[in-house]
């Protein structure tokens, strides 16, 4: 399944903030976690995560610091700020509203799914 660009972009901020709310992390680890959480469905262009992180930092939602773990490479770690947590809560409310609305739509239009499946199978 391919998730459209717009959906990926819209969900990027709450995903990143949500992952950082669990504890500080760095770009590659965040990306891997997104991948795991979505079961590989959400595909990001790796590089584009960084402009997003920088934007969140500029807005004050996250902090960053370069750290060198013993025996490792110098790496830029991000951690969520209080303002970021507030933003995450707000996003969560908004997404809950969207998901509720969508759930309503799916249940009233439940008949759509079997028909398309049948039509598709008939076409084979």
């Amino acid at each position: 399944m391919h998730i459209t660009k717009d959906l990926v972009a819209a969900s990027a901020t709450p995903l990143v903030l949500g992952i950082l709310a669990e504890g500080e992390s760095y770009g590659y680890a965040i990306l891997k976690q997104v991948n795991e959480l979505s079961g590989g469905q959400l595909e990001w262009t790796d590089g584009l995560l960084y402009p997003l992180l920088h934007r969140l930092e500029r807005l004050g939602h996250v902090d960053s610091a370069w750290e060198t773990p013993p025996g490792g490479r110098r790496r830029k770690y991000y951690r969520i700020t209080d303002q970021g947590r507030a933003e995450l809560a707000e996003q969560r409310r908004q997404w809950a509203a969207v998901v509720d609305a969508l759930r309503g739509v799916w249940s009233t239009a439940q008949s759509i799914r079997p028909i398309t499946t049948l039509a598709w199978e008939a076409g084979r």
């Binding site: 760095y26 590659y28 262009t45 590089g47 402009p51």
Partner: protein, 454 residues
Amino acid sequence: MTVDGDNDLEGQIAEWRAYTRRRRELHHTDAEELEDHLRSRITELIEAGLRADEAFLIAVKRMGSLDELSREFAREHSERLWKQLVLPGEPDGSAAARSRRELPVMVLCATVAALAIKVPGWFGLDMSDDNFGFYARNVSLFALPALAAYFAWQRRVGPRVIGVLALLFVLGAVAANAYPLADDSQTFVLTAIHLPIALWLVVGVAYVGGDWRSDRRRMDFIRFTGEWLIYLALIGLGGGVLMAFTVGTFNAIGLDAEGFLESWLLPCGAMGAVIVSAWLVEAKQSVVENMAPVLTRVFTPLFAATLLAFLVAVIWTNNGIDVERDVLILFDLLLVIVLGLLLYAISARDLATRSGLFDRLQLALVVSALIIDVMVLLAITGRITEWGFSPNKTAALGENLILLTNLAWSAWLFLGFVRGRMPFARLERWQTRYMIVYAVWAWTVVVAFPLVFA
């Protein structure tokens, strides 16, 4: 995995890093962050069983194209475009050492220019009304040598070019001061106007690093001139505000700052601004869109409309042009403006694109300016014999003819281009070649006119 594989991988990563370095939107730390990501991805892929080079290819592919990446970074960090005015990127090795020295050298040149204008004061030629003539004639000799020196250093020009530059500046100084001229004589005014132009073209030789035969480099100098004028005007505006506040605040505590302002801040600031503007243009080159072409886009339609309206008015009312003494100068200036609009439209044009509406507008502008100028010239030829040839009239007429020739041939080339028969590059080449004519004319006025009309 073999040691060779490791070395190859390091080499490939170094190459990728070099690519990111060339992107001015990506700062050093951004590149480092991205590299860390790249390495993490590669390590994981190798652990999954891929060979090093395969892992590298996939990791780079997943990173996304550098174009897209730098666009996103530029969008997020738009302030960087301005920061680069002062902090150039992170070039490597000797280039870095050189760009570190760039700022001090610029400051040195600006200081030399600022102090140069005070030097005549030590020899009794202070800035009073008595010596106005001296300063008006020599004003370009204070700042422009320093500017040429700055470019000579920056472009690392050879000793021969430096010799030629020095010779030309000496020639300019001699021409401005050797002839015994009264301050109100016509040739004095002509020298005061033409010497800066002549010397500016000498600065151009330094700007192009001595490679003055190259058309592309000359076009660069034209671009530079436009941007430089804009920066100078902006710095001038800021300086005006600064001076107004200086006078106002010191007045408030009963001190008179005007003397300091007139004898130090204004002259030294103006001379320093010449160098600083040039440095700013160079520093922000290719980062921010150039302003001169933008202004050209705005004013070309307006000037075209004005000139066409003027032509219609002349035909409608059947009024002849009133041939006053200053009218030639006025129409010279009009031609200069039209030429400037043409030049800066050319300077920003993608040579490969086809002609469009803007090109037709430009053609209309040039043609209407030509028609108006021919009308003026026809009206004036009858009067020239009556007045005789004074230096002013000769200079004004000569300039008019030079600009008229340029614009007439430009219009012809433009017409060929709009009709799709000629490549646009012809027009660009014509303009860059024509710069020689300006240089010859300006130097003739400076060097020969005082002799001829003595």
